[in-house]
Amino acid sequence: MNVLIVAEHGGGTLRKASLHALAAGREIARRTGGALHAVVLGKGVGAVAEELARHGVSVHAADAPGLEHPLAAVQAPVVADLARALQATFVGAAATAQGKDLLPRVAARLDAGMASDVLGLAGEGQQIAFRRPMWAGNVLAEVEIATPVKVFTVRATEFPALAREEAGTVQPVAVTVDPAAQRTRHLGFRELKSERPDLTEARVVVAGGRGTKGDFKPVEALADALGAAVGASRAAVDAGWVPNDWQVGQTGKVVAPDLYVAAGISGAIQHLAGMKGAKVIVAVNKDPEAPIFQIADYGLVGDLFQVLPALVAKVKASR
């Protein structure tokens, strides 16, 4: 069964999350005996399409001025029409802000059921099923999509990224789009730049919570010493101490780094839902009964204002 993955890009480059979605797509194609296709939508997407093709993918490039901004109502008809033309049984994307915005509209157009935030696959052929989290990851559901077309989004951290291999192909998709007809206008985008690695891609994450009492300097200092990304609990974000996009959790970012250091974070279920996929978890908290110690591989009961600087000193001394 054929698979079509919607690949995302930003600032002229392919988003890494899409390579993880493509890996899931390749696996589905393999288990169902079909071909893998990708679609890129935008204005001036040649370079992104070429980059995708270098991963051995059949790429369809929908390039039009009206597609300059990722507006779900404008993109959905293009993706749905292409899915039909390619006889795609599966249509998917990474579970990013864009993917979540767009794919249900595509599903509606294709009269398809949809599974969000897929973590794994089960079975093959007609019986292929998706595993996805429910109740903030407290339950893992195995679901089958009963409609002829099946739409999904993929949790990028659960599938290794597609590697570059033999050359794929790039074909243009003829499109006519009229954003005005969709009554949606993009008014602006304020980039939140960071010198640090992307939270969802970083190998190491240092996160702070209520225990920082608003002072994230020790957290950031350790992150910078380790070349890590900085995360936060919902409490820290709600208090206005740190930006929203630092939030790790059920409804924030889901991360799966090699090392997650949780400083001054008690370990509410919703936070754990966003980081329990980390390979190694370190918890630093003054409260020996904090729930986070139940899942931390290494727990240190102590004051983060002493422990984190001491760790920074160790890092610097080891260079």
Binding site: A97, W135, L192, A239, T251, G299
Partner: protein, 267 residues
């Protein structure tokens, strides 16, 4: 310009309740579980109330569920919604079916704006609003939020996060996307799904709770709305996630450092 607002209020398991899978894997254990209004829908209800307080109009709150969903509808009415609609159906429904039912209510009520929480914290699907928007051919803004702190003056004054143009024809909203914050303008009628920090929902006052008892709560039967209720996403089985056991405590930074290098080998 007065607005007619339709907002959803789903009854979901209280996240403070322990959620466990039944031994047969066919559902979750419901005994001892508490229920509440989906927190994201609560934010949607609050936003609807603020828009009505600023611009005038009516807030109709809608739930799809069993008889007990009346509780969540009364909670939204107590916050200040004007009337409620309960579409009766026992058991879970997947988002595409929910959107078909919502479409029927939209066609009857003809709102200017439909507000939903971005996801229900039971199925965590984050699809219904988008499905609905596409079915209706309406524009959408998903995960609408704002960047100002919830401690700001505007928030204390309960100002809406969604901005209605002076002519009442378009709405401006902000949403977080990867790498930044996006501002979109949509023409009404439209669908908006709400995310954390769009607002801080109010508590129902005692007078509000008393008034809610007398507000209209209409019941419709899902089976009578001409929608195919058959599930499109069929749950084959539920399982507990792989358990992650804690490793225990280390006594100091030296021990932690040593273990991270020698044992865990992540540094």
């Amino acid at each position: 310009m007065p607005l007619k607002l339709l907002v959803t209020a789903k009854r979901v398991e209280d996240p403070e309740s322990k959620i466990r899978v039944r031994p047969d894997g066919a559902g979750i254990v419901t005994e001892g579980v508490n229920y509440k209004l989906n927190p994201f829908d609560e934010i949607a209800v609050e936003e609807a109330l603020r828009l009505k307080e600023r611009h005038g109009g009516e807030v109709v709150v809608l739930s799809i569920g069993g008889e007990k969903s009346q509780t969540e509808l009364r909670a939204a009415l107590a916050m200040g919604a004007d009337r409620g609609v309960l579409v009766r159906h026992d058991g879970p429904l997947d988002p595409s079916v929910v959107s078909a039912l919502l479409q029927k209510v939209v066609e009857a009520e003809k709102p200017d704006l439909v507000l939903l929480g971005k996801q229900a914290i039971d199925d965590d699907q984050n699809q219904a609003g988008q499905y609905l928007a596409e079915r209706l051919g309406w524009p959408q803004v998903t995960s609408a939020s704002k960047t100002e702190s919830l401690e700001s003056e505007a928030e204390q004054k309960k100002e809406p996060g969604l901005l209605l143009a002076a002519d009442g024809k378009t709405l401006t909203a902000m949403r977080e996307v990867d790498g930044g914050v996006e501002t979109l303008e949509v023409g009404l009628p439209a669908v908006v799904t709400t995310d954390l920090r769009l607002n801080k929902p109010r508590f129902a006052s005692l007078p509000g709770i008393m008034k809610a008892k007398k507000k209209e709560l209409k019941e419709l039967q899902a089976a009578a709305l001409g929608v195919d209720l058959a599930p499109r996403v069929v749950v084959r089985r539920l399982a507990a996630p792989p358990e992650r056991k804690g490793g225990g405590k280390v006594k100091d930074v030296d021990e932690l450092w040593a273990k991270l290098h020698e044992e865990a080998k992540v540094l």
